[in-house]
């Protein structure tokens, strides 16, 4: 493939003094790569497993059973007059997505060392490509939710149409925190362990096994610094009806997530040029 107009090359300038900002044009030029990396992350996810994609259902399903027995049955945790299995499964859907995406995004840079040190492309593509694969899992796990709805004889109403907004908030939260941890993890592998610990705490700081209604009103502004509070309340509302999540906490959550995404991108961009040197 010879250039037809060989006199019109595109000139690329690499200047040490020029602190570049995220170049959307370059990222767009590599948009096929986002798709292919996402696709390969999906394609290899359950390779050489017997149960394959069933794992996407088994994990939240078993968690739901365990929660229902211990929290629902034995501890008698209130579930806002919703059957506890439905109540917890509706929260486990976004939670599983969030923890899996956060984990994937956070580890994405260090687990793609070969790509970082051997070939050029906008590095942001690596964490971005970890957003999609857990979404596929979420889709598969949702099938089980429909089955549960049928078993309990419940129906969906118009609220479900707003579900994508809460899903978007979950994605933003996972991406915002993930990109911070991913960047820090390149330099300090401590974050691998911090993340595991963080996710355990985070599960109990989010209304997965209990209802937000047990949290005192005065605590709500602090409680909802955790954006997953609004995500999970939003999912429950969209799937099961009830009260719309309180607006102030929702606003706080959205602001926090947005802030994490923007500051994460900034921090990522500032360190991007050094990844290959220090990873």
């Amino acid at each position: 493939m010879n250039n037809n107009n060989s006199n019109q090359y595109i000139t690329l300038v690499i200047d040490a003094d020029n602190n570049k900002v995220l170049e959307f044009r370059t990222i767009w030029a590599y948009h096929d790569l986002i798709w292919f990396l996402s696709w390969s992350n999906v394609a290899v996810r359950y390779k050489q497993t017997i149960l394959g994609v069933l794992w996407a259902v088994i994990q939240p399903f078993l968690a739901m059973i365990v929660f229902s027995i211990f929290f629902g049955l034995l501890l008698g945790v209130g579930s806002d007059n919703i059957p506890y299995p439905l109540f917890s499964y509706a929260a486990l859907l976004p939670w599983q997505y969030f923890s899996s995406a956060l984990n994937g995004i956070s580890m994405s840079l260090v687990s793609n060392q070969a790509l970082l040190t051997k070939v050029f492309f906008p590095r942001i593509i690596i964490p971005v490509s970890s957003i999609l694969p857990p979404l596929i899992d979420l889709g598969i796990a949702s099938i089980m939710y429909f089955v549960l709805m049928l078993l309990y004889g419940r129906t969906f109403s118009w609220e479900i149409l707003l579900l994508p907004l809460f899903l978007l908030l979950a994605i933003m939260t996972a991406f915002g925190f993930g990109i911070w941890i991913a960047t820090l993890n390149v330099k300090y592998r401590d974050f691998r362990y911090i993340l595991q610990f963080l996710l355990q705490i985070w599960l109990f700081a989010s209304p997965v096994t209990y209802s937000t209604s047990i949290v005192p009103d005065s605590w709500l502004p602090i409680y909802s610094i955790n954006p997953m509070v609004s995500v999970i309340d939003g999912f429950r509302w969209a799937l099961l009806g009830g009260d719309f999540p309180a607006l102030i906490p929702l606003l706080i959550s959205t602001l926090i997530s947005t802030f994490m995404v923007l500051s994460g991108l900034y921090y990522f961009n500032r360190n991007e040029g050094l990844f290959a040197d220090i990873i």
Partner: protein, 426 residues
């Protein structure tokens, strides 16, 4: 930037940190160390930079220009800065100072098969790898059949690559890389993969790239490949450009600066010099036809192997040389049969014995010379210095050596220019 230029590098520098600095030990980089060092520097009110960081320049003040269609070799010892330069040119890492302008689409091949996933099939990996290397999806699709054909693994294209032999794996990986079609290609030593015949195929493909008017920057340790492929070479040492000029010159300088390859070796101390009570070696050297010591010699010209020695006791002596190539194959042994000295007793004193290897005889590549002096009746070996000196034979592409117009890898331990006859039978 002027249109005839493909690459312009100006005042380029790259600084790394070494020593006790944390980021150098990134794999064990621990948060506690950062925290404690920050606390320490707070307490002692010292700037931690000064205390902890030992910085060094991996590249400094690099300036060069490459024209469109030029093929330039980048050579130098390990740690000279070649890989760093390549990584900056490929935008994998950022320079600390200076500027690079690149005119055209740049493709870089620091490694083949980057991003190959063992669980994916050959077909899937071609797409994934192609896109990672900067191709568009449609482009990979268009070249797919060609890539598969080039790789010679049609039958296994739908098998996961973890079931491939390592040869098949590298063949597939290189085939994708070979079809990148950039305006400017930056290649690291990726050709040292795969079996011999596939290597040749790849070298041919590389040369095609060059002849199609594309610009190539080629980093290699293979001096014969560099001299063959690149008319011009840049020699780096200690992060700086030492030579930028014709490859023969740069390669020659590279070899001269080497420690293991030396065209001249001298034993000034008689007590450790090879020899016995009859004869003692003083010096062995490789010279061109003008008797200048040379590491790199043109295949077309004669090569002189010379040795100085001192005869300590009157004896009949037969100096002899043993020439080996870099595969350890002994190319030949030659005995001094000069009728003037054959069978004649040599009196005490200093001598120089020279054997002249004709031009168009040795093959290109490195050669090692062993020097010996013996007496054949009765047989006594007075000394045999196995790896006395070494040199490099360079076969340029001028067309008047035995390779003619054939531009790629040639086998054979010798490369004689033989006479041919053609009879036409009508």
């Amino acid at each position: 930037m002027e249109n005839h230029l493909a690459v312009r590098v100006s005042k380029l520098g790259k600084q790394f940190q070494r020593g006790e600095h944390l980021s150098q030990r990134a794999n064990s980089g621990r948060l506690t160390e950062v925290l404690t060092s920050n606390v320490k520097s707070l307490l002692t009110r010292r700037r931690k930079d000064v205390q902890l960081v030992d910085k060094f320049w991996a590249l400094q003040d690099i300036n060069f220009e490459v024209q469109h269609g030029e093929i330039v070799g980048i050579i130098g010892r390990n740690g000279a800065g070649k890989s760093t330069l390549l990584k900056i040119l490929s935008r994998i890492t950022r320079p600390t100072s200076g500027k690079i302008e690149i005119n055209g689409r740049m493709g870089s091949l620091l490694e083949v098969g980057v991003g190959f996933h063992p669980d994916l099939t050959g077909r899937e990996n071609i797409y994934l790898n192609g896109v990672i290397m900067g191709m568009r999806r449609e482009e990979v699709g268009r070249k797919f059949d060609e890539i598969v054909e080039f790789s010679e693994i049609e039958k296994f294209i739908d098998t996961p690559v973890k079931r491939y032999s390592s040869g098949m794996y590298t063949r597939l990986a290189f085939s994708v890389a070979a079809h990148l079609d950039p305006d400017i290609l930056v290649v690291d030593e990726v050709l040292a993969v795969g079996d011999m015949s596939f290597q040749k195929k790849c070298l041919n493909k590389m040369e095609d790239v060059g002849t199609e008017g594309r610009t190539v920057l080629f980093v290699s340790h293979n001096m014969s490949a560099v001299t063959r492929l690149c008319p011009r070479s840049i020699l780096l040492d200690n992060g700086q450009i030492v030579t930028d000029g014709p490859s023969a010159q740069a390669v020659g300088q590279y070899l001269q600066s080497g420690l293991d390859t030396k065209a001249r070796r001298r034993w000034d101390n008689p007590s450790i010099a090879p020899g016995n009570d009859r004869v003692r070696l003083i010096e062995v050297r490789i010279c061109d036809e003008n008797r200048n010591v040379q590491d790199a010699l043109d295949i077309r010209h004669p090569i002189r192997i010379e040795m100085d020695y001192e005869v300590l006791k009157e004896t009949v002596l037969v100096p002899n040389y043993h020439v080996m190539n870099d595969n350890g194959i002994k190319v030949f042994v030659v005995h001094d049969l000069d009728p003037a000295w054959r069978g004649r007793v040599r009196s005490k004193g200093n001598y120089t014995s020279t054997s002249i290897i004709p031009g168009n005889f040795l093959s290109e590549g490195s050669h090692i010379v062993g020097a010996a002096i013996s007496t054949h009746d009765p047989l006594v070996v007075h000394f045999y210095e196995r790896d006395a000196v070494a040199f490099q034979v360079i076969d340029s592409l001028d067309g008047d050596s035995a390779r003619g117009d054939y531009a790629s890898h040639m086998d054979g331990i010798v490369r004689p220019l033989l006479e041919w006859e053609t009879e036409y039978h009508k």
